[in-house]
Amino acid sequence: MLTYEPGDSFAHRLDPRTKLAVQLSFAAAGLAHTTPVGLVVLGLVAAGCLRAADTSPLSALHGLRYAIPFLAVGPVVEAARLGAPWFEPAAAVEPALASVRVLLVFFVAAAYVKTTPVRESRAAVQRLVPGRIGIALGIGIALVFRFLPLVRRDLLRVREAQAARLGDERRLDERLSLVAAGGLRRSFARADALALALRARCFAWNPTLPVIRFARRDAAGLALAVALSVSVAV
């Protein structure tokens, strides 16, 4: 699974806002230039991003293996015909280029995920989104990261609890709604406990934000982001 890994690559040391800017502008440039030449240039940029994150394209591909079937399907459905000649390669070209573009965006995004801890993402959100919405969003995001493993485990436990008392003997739909209801009940209980804990620790609108700072190396990333954005306009 694709997750953050501690390290000190160039990308690790960049400000998260720089990395967000690169991702966004890269995706926009991809949409604007879905041509063979455009994609070659973007491919080089994506390779550079992976390099900066100390990630080999192979390991990035491995992290993305789940997305691969999507990318194959576009060209196939578009070129398939319900009668002779059954398959028309020319029609597949455009969707194939689109798939390459998506793949490149996946690479660049993988570089962000691998090099950015939750703390920094939260800090970026709280600075980029103004006011109370940003504060709430930042905390909310941190909470999702924190509670995801717990909720997953809860669902597993509910299933086990049923199985241990022979719940597997019941009908499938009944079992599913029991698991869903059990998971939901546990989630509400956790949410109530969590709300209490947040209040006990003075959850406030005006906290000290985690530090993130632009440094000289961010200039390179920001320049790339600007260049990509300008290329969209032309």
Binding site: R157, A161, A164, R165, L166, D168, E169, G182, F188
Partner: protein, 233 residues
């Protein structure tokens, strides 16, 4: 009878249970002790097929658990370490009835079992209360009642006394002795022998996923502290 042979269970690369061989006879009361992380919970989850062995095998009443899951789960009931994980219904009565319903018993018998099990944990008359309004200790007691209602051959309790107050503890303990008299075997998982030593025929201590000690409580007492288990006082 529960029989475990050369059992290995791995999480990723680390073996949480690392070659355990153990037999629990009918009618026996065994305390399974050990430090946090020594593999107690992982081991007992094999007794009713909630986990699958990486190596070795588990037999309940001489049937291999994996092939006869229903038989194993009818024979072995379990109280989980975190009782709130164990509740499947929204009200006290419905939760206790869940297991007996799955056994296909008739309604009269189910109601009788629900009443008796709740009485054993001092929760009688509270069938209609919602599980989310119970206090911590009450949830623990409800979880025990749910397992009792299965009337199993073997009852496994994973740290059952942690949140219980004194009357509830006494009542559960008394009920456990009664069960034992009537031939049910008990496996009590704990790292604190003070509460249950009086009940036990044997103490099995795990350390790093292996059996480090298998003795009578009296013989075991001296070696418990070095195995990070609290001796009876």
């Amino acid at each position: 009878m529960i029989r475990v042979g050369d059992l290995v269970h791995r999480y990723g690369d680390t073996a949480a249970v690392d070659g355990v061989t153990l037999t629990i006879d009918d009618g026996e009361c065994v305390i399974l002790a050990g430090a946090n992380g020594s593999g107690k919970t992982t081991l007992v989850r094999h007794f009713n097929g909630l986990l699958e062995p990486d190596e070795g095998g588990v037999f309940v009443n001489d049937d291999p658990v994996e092939e006869r899951l229903v038989a194993a789960r009818t024979a072995v009931a379990m109280v989980f370490q975190h009782p709130e994980d164990q509740l499947v219904a929204a009200t006290v009565g419905a939760d206790v009835a869940f297991g007996p319903e799955n056994l296909g018993l008739d309604r009269g018998e189910i109601d009788r079992r629900v009443r008796e099990s709740l009485a054993a944990v001092n929760l009688d008359g509270r069938e209609d209360e919602r599980v989310d309004s119970l206090s911590g200790g009450e949830v623990e007691r409800l979880a025990i009642a749910g397992a009792l209602a299965m009337q199993p051959d073997h009852l496994v309790l994973d740290e059952p006394f942690t949140g219980l107050d004194e009357p509830a503890r006494q009542s559960v303990l008394a009920h456990l002795s009664e069960l034992r008299e009537s031939g049910t075997s008990l496996v009590v998982v704990t790292h604190d022998l003070r509460d249950v030593a009086s009940l036990a025929d044997r103490v099995v201590v795990l350390a790093d996923g292996r059996v480090a000690l298998d003795e009578t409580p009296a013989a075991a007492a001296d070696r418990l502290p070095e195995l990070d288990v609290r001796p009876p006082c």
